[in-house]
Every structure is written in structure tokens, then in C-alpha cells.
């Protein structure tokens, strides 16, 4: 029973972090049809920024806020200075499909090198505001820590804020409209380019939050979030790539599958489980199990 409860709690905690990364990929995908591979590097870069702030100020929360804001600015900057130019110059033919993928992959490498150049490749640690050691329940130590609980709470609060933003505000309406139908949105007077940049900013912020919550249980080094990118991507595909709800649900499916197989069978099954789920989803329901595409075709 203990093992079961622990597995549920750790699943929620890891699922929550995947959900943030997944959301950041989905936000960019549905507004620009680009898989932003650079998101991992953006998250690492801002986590290093958060690390610097924490080292100097001693406050994890200040570091987290600075990292998230930096993530937003970097995301917006990448869209304005980089992606928009690429869309303008490579707007038709096969290159229009390939160019953004090549560009975000290149950006991934450039940011990684930049990080190595500034901070070196040594491992760094970020001190969590609460203990990352497993809780002791009925005398036995379990794999769920107070920090894991904090992760669940922080991510839940961010999801509530994002849901209100997307569903209840004009900005959210503009974001959704521009993502689903950019031309109709323009014809209705929505400044789709500016809205798209905002989407990249929110995505960048979500990715940075994922990084800041992921690293305290692990180590910070240039390539530390490659796994997070892969799992975030798998979660996004499970969720249908264009649905925010799907991104969260997909992340939870993945979090539970990984933690339960690791807890009950073997930790060696983490990666196989993730990829088996990915392949099954692609085989059985390639549009994802929570795709938001609907509507009468006539």
C-alpha cells in the first residue's frame, strides 16, 4: 500500500514537470507548426540564470521568478529576431517545412555551446527551498519528498493561472483564435504576429519553470534537460500536440506509466515504457488521445 501511494505521488510530481515542458512545446507547435527543439536549451539557460540569482541572493523563489521572466523574454526574442525571419524567407516549398526544424535544432546547439562557454561543463546544484529527501512514513523512507509536493502545488497553481488566461481573458481568446485560424483572426482585426510572439513568451516561461523545478532533484549541466525535452515531447504527442489539456493529460499518463513500471518492475524500464507508449499512441490513435480538433466537415 505504501509503495502504491508513493508511486502515485511521485508520478504526479514528475508528470507535473513533464506537463510544463509539454505545454511549452504545444504552445509553439499550435501557433507556428514548429517543434521547438531549442526549448531544452532555453530551459537550461534560464535555469543557469536562476542558479546565479539563487547563489547571490540565497532565495530560490527570486531565482525561479527571474528564470521564468528570462524564459519569456528569450522565447519572445527567438520568435521576433529569428523565427519570423525564417518564415518570411523560407515561406513555400519543402524548405518551408524543413527550415524551422533545422533552425530550432541549430539554436539548441548554439545555446548549449553558449552555456558551456559561460558556465563550463561542471555539475552544479540548486538548493531547493524545502528538503528533497524522501519523507518518512510509518518509519520507512519513501521516494516522495517535500520538494515533490511543492512541485505539484506550484505546477497546479500555474495551470490554474494558464487556464484562466486562456479561457477567460481577451488575450487568451486571441491566442486560441490565432493558433486555430490565423487568417480568419487577421480578418477579424487580431494582430496575429504579436499574439504569436506572446505565445512563444508563455512557452518560454513554462519551459523555464519546468527547468527550475526539475533541477533541484538532479544536477545542472549544459545537457541536463535533454530527457525532459524528450518526455515533454512524448507527452505532447500523446495529448495530440495541439491541446493544452492534452499536454497535461499526456504528461500524467507518461508520469504514471514511468513511475509505476520503475517502482513495481525495474527502474531500467523508464525509457522503454515511455517509447512503447509513444509507439502505441502513434499506431492506435496517431492524432493523440486528447486532440482538440473537432468540427463538422461539410
Amino acid at each position: 500500500m505504501n509503495q502504491f501511494i508513493t508511486a502515485v505521488l511521485t508520478s504526479l510530481s514528475t508528470g507535473a514537470i513533464y506537463a510544463l515542458m509539454s505545454i511549452s512545446l504545444v504552445l509553439v507547435w499550435r501557433s507556428t507548426r514548429v517543434i521547438n527543439f531549442a526549448q531544452a536549451a532555453q530551459a537550461v539557460l534560464t535555469t543557469y540564470i536562476g542558479y546565479e540569482v539563487i547563489t547571490r541572493s540565497g532565495s530560490f523563489w527570486l531565482g525561479l521568478i527571474v528564470a521564468v521572466i528570462a524564459g519569456g523574454i528569450i522565447g519572445a526574442g527567438i520568435d521576433r529576431l529569428f523565427m519570423r525571419q525564417i518564415f518570411k524567407r523560407a515561406s513555400s516549398g519543402p524548405i518551408a517545412m524543413i527550415a524551422p526544424v533545422v533552425a530550432t535544432t541549430a539554436l539548441l546547439g548554439v545555446i548549449y555551446s553558449l552555456i558551456g562557454f559561460i558556465w563550463g561543463i561542471s555539475y552544479k546544484t540548486i538548493e531547493a527551498p524545502v528538503s528533497t529527501n524522501g519523507l518518512s512514513i510509518f518509519g520507512s523512507v519513501v521516494a516522495f519528498s517535500p520538494f515533490n509536493l511543492l512541485v505539484i502545488i506550484t505546477v497546479t497553481l500555474s495551470m490554474i493561472v494558464l487556464t484562466i488566461l486562456f479561457q477567460k481573458t481577451n488575450i487568451g481568446l486571441a491566442l486560441r483564435a490565432s493558433a486555430h485560424a490565423p487568417e480568419i483572426s487577421r480578418l477579424s482585426g487580431v494582430k496575429v504576429d504579436a499574439v504569436r510572439t506572446l505565445g512563444w513568451a508563455i512557452a518560454g516561461g513554462a519551459g523555464s519553470l519546468a527547468g527550475m523545478l526539475y533541477i533541484p532533484g538532479s544536477y545542472l549541466y549544459p545537457n541536463s534537460m535533454a530527457v525532459l525535452l524528450v518526455f515533454g515531447f512524448i507527452a505532447a504527442v500523446i495529448g495530440g500536440l495541439d491541446s493544452l489539456f492534452g499536454a497535461v493529460a499526456g504528461a500524467m499518463v507518461l508520469g504514471f506509466a514511468i513511475n509505476f513500471s520503475a517502482s513495481y518492475i525495474s527502474y531500467k524500464l523508464v525509457f522503454p515504457t515511455a517509447f512503447v507508449i509513444l509507439i502505441l499512441v502513434l499506431l492506435i490513435k496517431p492524432n493523440g488521445i486528447f486532440s482538440s480538433s473537432k468540427g463538422r466537415r461539410d
Binding site: L173, A177, A181, E183, R186, L187, S188, G189, D298
Partner: protein, 236 residues
Amino acid sequence: MTLIVEGLTIDHGAIRAINNVSFKVPQGQLAAIIGANGAGKTTLLRTLSGLKKSKAGSATWDGHSILDKRTEDLARSGIVHVSDGKSVIAELSVKENLALPGIWRKDKKDVAMATTEVIEMFPILGQRLSQSAGSLSGGERQMLAIGRALIARPKLLLLDEPSLGLAPLIVEQIFLIIKSLVTKKDLTVVLVEQNAMGALKIADEGIVLNLGSVVAVDSANKLLNDPAVRAAYLGF
């Protein structure tokens, strides 16, 4: 305020879609641009709303050029285009579709008023506010698209094939509403239609396009009664 198009030429890839087209639409008039499939009607309208670039010529509204402007800026200045294919956002609710112009319009009271007017004009939309636009029928979608455009308080309304794929009774209803917009609201309308007879019946002026060129411009009534035009381009 007058829409003046002069010598407008538009290429569609390697094909010349619109060749040296000129016409005028004075304020408060309904101009019908008619012609067969492939005559360049949609291309012309897309260029007037900034979705497509022109090759040569000019187009002005109220003395200002509209060719080098962004679509969203034109929409905000009152030149609103309802594109073909019942242009609604299927993933959003009817209410959210109608709310799009309210995102940028400053006068929120007038947005609320315009929304009420639209729902009075199309009561069916009022019953379906929380439904997704994708669940609407073709006619309802067209009503939603026109309704959304009206909430932007347009001065010049560009309508692309509002009758496409709709049942005759619905077409008649939509045409009557378009006609009433021009007479009651002093709106200027450019109506692109394959349904030439229906469009000319409500229009003040008719512009007949064939293979990208204007082949006849006259009052809608005269075009309807001109045997040569009827036989050659209207098919009745």
C-alpha cells in the same frame, strides 16, 4: 468615401489572375462582382483586404491606399473581409467567434450593442452561443461570419461567395440581410458571387469579370436585362 480600384493587376504564381481591373464603388452602394469559377473574383477580394499582394495598379478607400496595409490594420480601420468557406473558427464557441473584434475595439459599450444587434438579426446564433462554431450548419456559419464582421463596425464590407453551398431558401435570407445592411446602415458592400442572378437582384451595380478582366460594368438592373450579357456570362 469611395472604393476606387484602378488598373489593378494581380499574379497568382505564374498566372495573371487579375488584369488591369478598374471600378468604383461609392459609399452606401452594393456592388456585385460576378463571373464564372476562376474569373479571379476571390483573388481580387483577397488583395483588397491585404491577404495577397498586387502586381500593379492602385486601390484606395476614402482617398487612402489600401494595397500596402496589413490585413489586421485594414480590419481595424473598417475594411472587413468575410472570406469564402464560411469563415468561422470551428474550435471556438459561437460566442467566442463573435467576441474577436471586441479584443481590440476600444468602445466596449458599442461592442456590446453591436453584438445585441447581430443576435437580433440572426436569432439562431443567440440560441447557439455556447456551442462550438464547428457544430453549426452551413447557413448558420455564414450568419456567424457576417455577424462577426458587423461587430467590427465595418464601413466597407467585402463578402466572398456568401451563398456557396447553401440551400436556396437560406441564400435568399442571407441576400436580403446583406441588402438591408446597405440600405439601413449606409454600409458599402462588395459582394463576390457565382450566383449572378441572386447577387444582381440585390446589387446597385454589377461588375462582370471573365478570366481576370472586366468585361462589363453597369447598373445591376441593366446587366440583368441585357440579353448579350445574360447569354455570355450569366447563363440564364
